[in-house]
């Protein structure tokens, strides 16, 4: 699937999940710049290829979206609750995206986790063969008074320059 197709699949996944489960619609495109206080969730997936989906939301958007999801007033939410909702959002977007781009493959999603805002951190286990990550899809949007950015990276072995992804 060409790169533009992957971006479209990611966009459609984000929109579908937000509208269906969170009852939230995008209010436009965003430049997706990072801000202090942004909440970042990451989901690692195993498959052909393996990779990560990273979802970053401004604190304002995360609180508003979490309130809608949990049926609570936004001022009444704990930080932990917001983190859990953002993780679940990342989980659903990842699953939706992977199902769209490779319907015949088997993927396994790890439990999503909150990450630091430094989205370019190196893989934790440096004993693994050196792996090169490629950013294959990204999408940014304005929602609930803040910004949301999602990107997908896949892993490829450095010595396999001609490896073909399932994507």
């Amino acid at each position: 699937m060409p790169e533009s197709g992957l971006n479209a699949a990611l966009r459609d996944s984000v929109v579908d999940v937000l509208e269906t489960m969170f009852f939230v619609r995008s209010t436009g495109d965003s430049r997706g710049e990072a801000s202090a206080g942004d909440i970042v969730a990451r989901v690692h997936f195993e498959g052909e290829p393996s990779g990560n989906l990273t979802l970053r939301m401004s604190a304002l958007a995360a609180r508003s979206v979490s309130a809608d999801f949990l049926g609570e007033e936004d001022w009444n939410l704990a930080e932990q609750q917001i983190g859990e909702v953002v993780c679940e959002l990342a989980n659903m977007v990842c699953g939706s995206f992977l199902s769209r781009v490779e319907s015949n493959a088997t993927f396994r999603l790890d439990t999503p986790c909150l990450a630091s805002i430094d989205a370019d951190c190196e893989p934790a286990d440096l004993r693994q063969p050196v792996a090169h990550r490629s950013r294959v899809a990204s999408h940014s949007m304005e929602i609930a008074g803040g910004a949301l950015r999602v990107f997908v990276e896949t892993e490829a072995r450095v010595w396999s320059a001609t490896a073909e992804f399932a994507f």
Binding site: G71, R108, L109
Partner: protein, 128 residues
């Protein structure tokens, strides 16, 4: 008739959401129980009876696949309809869970009405 439902998911946010959605959808709920993985679910089922089980797939300690297998292998528990709720919409996964004994399968994201429809259909099939 109102029903007792067990929600099995390692995400507290998702458990809360499912409980809300079931109530909002108009499904007649007599009680709602929660477990964060398959092992906890089996422990709870040793103490409480439920009419239906909603379960995630990827969970620590015991995931949804193993839970469905264990329920199907139990003479008493196999009669409880299990509905899998997962982000995985691939045919392979759906077929696998159904072959293990899942009565229904819902892919996230889903509308509240879809959850109610699946619950009612699974309970109806059990009564038949």
């Amino acid at each position: 008739m109102a029903y007792r439902v067990l929600i099995v998911d390692d995400s507290p946010a998702m458990r809360c959401f499912l409980h809300r959605v079931i109530e909002i959808s108009g499904f007649k709920l007599a009680g709602c129980f929660e477990a964060s993985n398959g092992r906890e679910a089996l422990e709870l089922l040793g103490r409480e009876w439920v009419d239906a089980i909603l379960t995630d797939v990827n969970m620590p300690e015991m995931g949804g696949e193993e839970l469905v297998e264990r329920l199907s292998a139990d003479e008493m528990l196999r009669s409880i309809p299990v509905i899998v709720i997962s982000t995985d919409a691939t045919e392979k996964r759906i077929s696998r869970l159904r072959s293990l004994g899942a009565r229904g399968y819902i892919t996230k994201p889903f509308l509240p009405e879809a959850l109610r429809t699946e619950l009612e259909a699974s309970l109806e099939a059990t009564r038949a």
